[in-house]
């Protein structure tokens, strides 16, 4: 049987831990060229030389204090789970800073192995590290490696197995921090050792050191023995006073200074610089990219380029998907008999899920573009350049990254955006960012905007889209400011951040990145949205109208049919109800053949005795639609037909259309009555009371309720609510046509709705992520806050617009 061992990968952020993890376990972990990507620990395993090695990828940390989540995760794992070996991934191109963590691991006493990663980069900068010397000075085995190209990973595994087969005790390293502190550490160590309250897991010397560093978590664990804790606190107070008076630093600072002093000694004798040049490639690029004048210009150009790329690249695939879904609908129409089942599959499943999947290309290309700028290191520069601006709003330079992922350039998704807030250190900044993320124009909101913009602002489509992006940023930033002045008041965290060197993104890295985020979006379609679409469909279908009401509508329709049969103008063409039904059916086919230019069908239709009438109806109907001022009967009938036959045909066509329009009206009334009777209709009507000042009727409200579940659903729900299928001409008018002709829809109403959709409640998937990252309280807060903002702003727009006479 294989022996099971656990190793942990620790190291600085961006040192390549996840790359090593992926290289040795074959997993596909998210890696990115900015610090702080992995925040939770991730597990994987690999078999090597008779061992089953469980590998844990820890979040990157600079030290092991108790002041940030990642450091606590890493540190608690090391202490509580006691891995057999800790592999410290050290970035060779940045040795000093990386060894600072190594020293702290040594202080803890964990069994240690150093993976000296990125030697390729170090070499290219003229840095040569004598790893044997390093190993002997530190007393820790060192394996040089280039994780990205899989070099040294086998050696690393060999070394792991070798070290694990001769296990040794934890040995906290003794490093000198100056006489006073050393003495205090000895003192505290012996006091702790003398008492029995501390779990053996914790090395006493390490605890003593942490006490002097003012570590509250350690103090809290000593609290179990009040006597002990009092003694320890007295000693630390004494040391603090002493160092403050003699060195003007707190012990924590003194300890840090000594650690660096110690390791500077080590690196001096192990590291050789061949080139003494000040500026490496990355620095030279930065001279241009973050230049005072060029920097912002380039940034705007790059962001605009991402926007262009996303929308031009996704145009074709979106079109394909669209065709695919309409094909699917046609197939379902023919295979599944008319009725509830068909309606469920069509509007419940295909429309709902289709609306999500249909927009996958935009999301995917946007994430692809984002992945490239992240992995190249440029994203960190954006954060750097914009920090000053964002700070004014109480946010952090890194907030930009989250906002862009969530749709800051339009087209993105809030769920990965919320995950990206993890790179923010300060909890208040982080929550503020999290709460304004839903204001961004994510990929799901775009289709609704698109329809409303094409219908009401067709002249300035691009300007309008751009305006909406700007508006969403304005709201997000000012909302953040508001939050930071009220519920999230507090000082800002230090922004000591690393600017990672520019690196050429790898295709594999970018693809993993893109896929991971896109998949989160697709997953929504299969789970939340599928369920919700079905629920919404049911809500919009049941309960049905009572039988007597349905009968009343049917009676009205039957009366019209009778009127058709008795109409003198139609008598010649339609003899009985069988003829009528056939004409209705044939006309549907006719319209289809004309629009699709299907020659075979046309010749078939031409044989029918109804053909002249069908043609007349079609031309008349077309003319009526095209010229709103009425039509000239002379032009409606095909030229080949003349004389009184022409008159007769024309009259008959007119009669047919007139009756069918009456029927359509009744149909529409029935559908309205039916919708109002359903659960959704009831809810919408109740909500109408609140939304009337905004100009939204119950049908819009239903769509908005659906959008609470997922923004993608708004459009399809609106379509169903306004549905006007199977009319006289038997062509389902699209939603946009319907909105154009509906007098209650004005550009003002459309704009109000757009803004409302931009700002109102986050979708369920987003709320779930907010819950995961914070607490239920913030979820409720987010719902109420967004609703309030959306309602207030929309009210101002709609009432203001009305007063301004729009």
């Amino acid at each position: 049987m294989k022996k099971k061992i656990t190793i942990a990968l620790a190291g600085n952020p961006n040192a390549g831990k996840s790359t090593v993890f992926n290289a040795i376990t074959g997993a596909r972990q998210h890696i990115a060229n900015y610090p702080g990507v992995t925040v939770e620990k991730k597990y994987g395993s690999v078999d090597h030389k008779g061992y089953r090695i469980e590998v844990v990828d820890l979040p990157g940390t600079y030290s092991l204090t108790a002041y940030s989540l990642e450091e606590l995760v890493a540190r608690n794992f090391l202490i509580n789970d006691r891995p057999d070996l800790v592999v410290d991934i050290v970035d060779a191109s940045n040795l000093d800073r990386n060894l600072y963590l190594t020293i702290q691991l040594k202080e803890m006493g964990v069994p240690l192995l150093i993976g000296l990663n990125m030697v390729d980069i170090a070499k290219s900068r003229g840095i040569i590290i004598d790893h044997e010397q390093l190993s002997s000075l530190l007393g820790v085995p060192v394996v040089p490696m280039v994780a990205r190209s899989n070099k040294g990973t086998d050696e690393l595994l060999d070394k792991i197995v070798e070290l694990v087969s001769n296990p040794r005790e934890w040995q906290p390293a003794k490093i000198s921090y100056g006489l006073d502190i050393d003495r205090a550490i000895d003192e505290i160590e012996s006091i702790i050792k003398a008492s029995n309250i501390i779990d053996e897991k914790y090395p006493a010397r390490w605890l003593a050191l942490k006490c002097l560093e003012g570590d509250e978590q350690v103090f809290a664990s000593l609290e179990k023995d009040p006597d002990l804790s009092k003694k320890v606190r007295a000693i630390t107070q004494r040391v603090i006073k002493h160092t403050l008076s003699t060195l003007e630093e707190d012990p924590e600072g003194v300890i840090a200074d000594h650690r660096y002093g110690y390791l500077t000694g080590i690196t001096k004798s192990t590291l050789k610089r061949q080139i003494q040049s000040r500026l490496n490639m990355s620095d030279k690029i930065d001279k241009v990219m973050t230049n005072r004048i060029l920097g912002p210009i380039l940034m705007v150009m790059i962001l605009y380029g991402m926007y262009l790329f996303t929308f031009s690249a996704s145009e074709a695939p979106i079109h394909w998907l669209d065709m695919l879904f309409s094909k699917l609908k046609v197939i379902i129409c023919t295979v599944v008999p008319k009725g509830h089942l068909q309606s469920l599959i069509m509007s419940g499943i295909v429309d709902g899920v289709g609306s999500v999947l249909g927009f996958v290309p935009i999301i995917m290309f946007m994430f692809f573009a984002i992945a490239i700028i992240e992995d190249s290191g440029y994203m960190a520069r954006i954060a750097f350049m914009l920090d000053r601006v964002l700070r004014w709003f109480g946010l952090h330079g890194n907030s930009v990254i989250s906002l862009i992922i969530s749709g800051g350039i339009s087209g993105g998704c809030a769920v990965p955006g919320i995950m990206a807030t993890r790179t923010l250190r300060d909890p208040k900044e982080r929550i503020a960012t999290l709460l304004v993320i839903p204001f961004m124009n994510c990929g799901a909101k775009l289709p609704v905007y698109a329809v409303l913009i094409t219908v009401f602002f067709s002249k300035n489509q691009t300007t309008m889209m751009f305006l909406l992006t700007i508006i969403s940023w304005i709201f997000a930033l000012f909302a953040a400011k508001l939050l930071r002045l009220t519920v999230l008041k507090g000082s800002q965290t230090p922004f000591v951040m690393e600017l990672p060197p520019y690196r050429l993104p790898t295709l594999k890295g970018v693809c993993i990145h893109t896929w991971e985020r896109t998949f989160q979006y697709i997953k929504k379609a299969g789970t939340i949205i599928l369920g919700l679409s079905i629920l919404l469909w049911a809500m919009m279908t049941f309960p049905q109208l009572p039988a007597n009401q349905i009968r009343a509508f049917e009676n009205q329709k039957n009366r019209i049919n009778r009127m058709i049969l008795h109409s003198p103008a139609l008598k010649k063409y339609i003899k009985d109800s069988k003829d009528l039904r056939q004409i209705d059916r044939l006309y549907a086919t006719y319209v289809q053949t004309v629009t699709k230019k299907d020659k075979k069908l046309i010749t078939k239709l031409k044989k029918s005795r109804f053909f002249p009438l069908l043609k007349a109806i079609y031309t008349t109907d077309r003319n009526k639609m095209d010229s709103p001022r009425g039509y000239n009967s002379d032009t409606t009938i095909p030229e080949s037909i003349t004389g009184h036959i022409k008159d007769e045909l024309s009259k008959a066509a007119h009669e047919y259309i007139r009756y069918k329009q009456m029927e359509e009206k009744i149909d529409a009334a029935q559908r309205q009555a039916a919708l109002k009777h359903t659960v959704a209709g009831w809810l919408g009507q109740k909500l109408e009371f609140f939304t009337r000042p905004l100009g939204f009727d119950y049908r819009t409200d239903i769509a908005l309720v659906g959008g609470f579940a997922a923004k993608e659903v708004i459009l399809s729900t609106l379509g169903t609510a306004y549905s006007l299928s199977d009319s006289i001409v038997n062509q389902s008018k699209s939603l946009s046509k319907r909105l154009t002709t509906d007098p209650s829809w004005t550009p003002l109403k459309a704009f109000t709705l757009i803004i409302f959709i931009m700002l109102y409640v986050p979708c369920i998937a987003t709320l779930a992520s907010i819950r995961k990252e914070t607490s239920w309280n913030w979820v409720w807060f987010s719902i109420c806050f967004n609703l309030t903002v959306a309602y207030t702003v929309s009210l101002i727009i709609s009432q203001g617009g009305r007063i301004a006479g729009m």
Binding site: N94, D257, G261, N291, G295, D387, T493, V496
Partner: protein, 88 residues
């Protein structure tokens, strides 16, 4: 001649050696763990377009600090290189 000034007052592309870090608590911790401790050589790479934060090169990597943090770091520089009128 040598002179000690706060890091914030350093000019772009200027070199210096950290002499003192007076920040304590969270800020002190963050500054120190990134390697900004006494006797470290630094080089000011440049500043963001709005003059804040400042990017400095320390121990082979580039760090960014906000001006109010740079205030807590005292740096020794060569005197003639910083005529007073050029600093802000």
């Amino acid at each position: 001649m040598k002179k000690i000034i706060p890091m914030r007052k350093m000019l772009n592309n200027q070199d210096g050696i950290i002499k003192k870090v007076s920040a304590t608590g969270e800020m002190g911790r963050r500054i120190r763990e990134m390697g900004l401790v006494p006797d470290t050589e630094i080089h000011v790479q440049g500043r963001a377009p709005l003059k804040d934060p400042v990017a400095i090169k320390v121990r082979d990597c580039v760090l960014t600090l906000r001006n109010n943090e740079a205030n807590f770091i005292q740096v020794e520089i060569d005197f003639p290189d910083t005529p007073e009128k050029n600093t802000k």
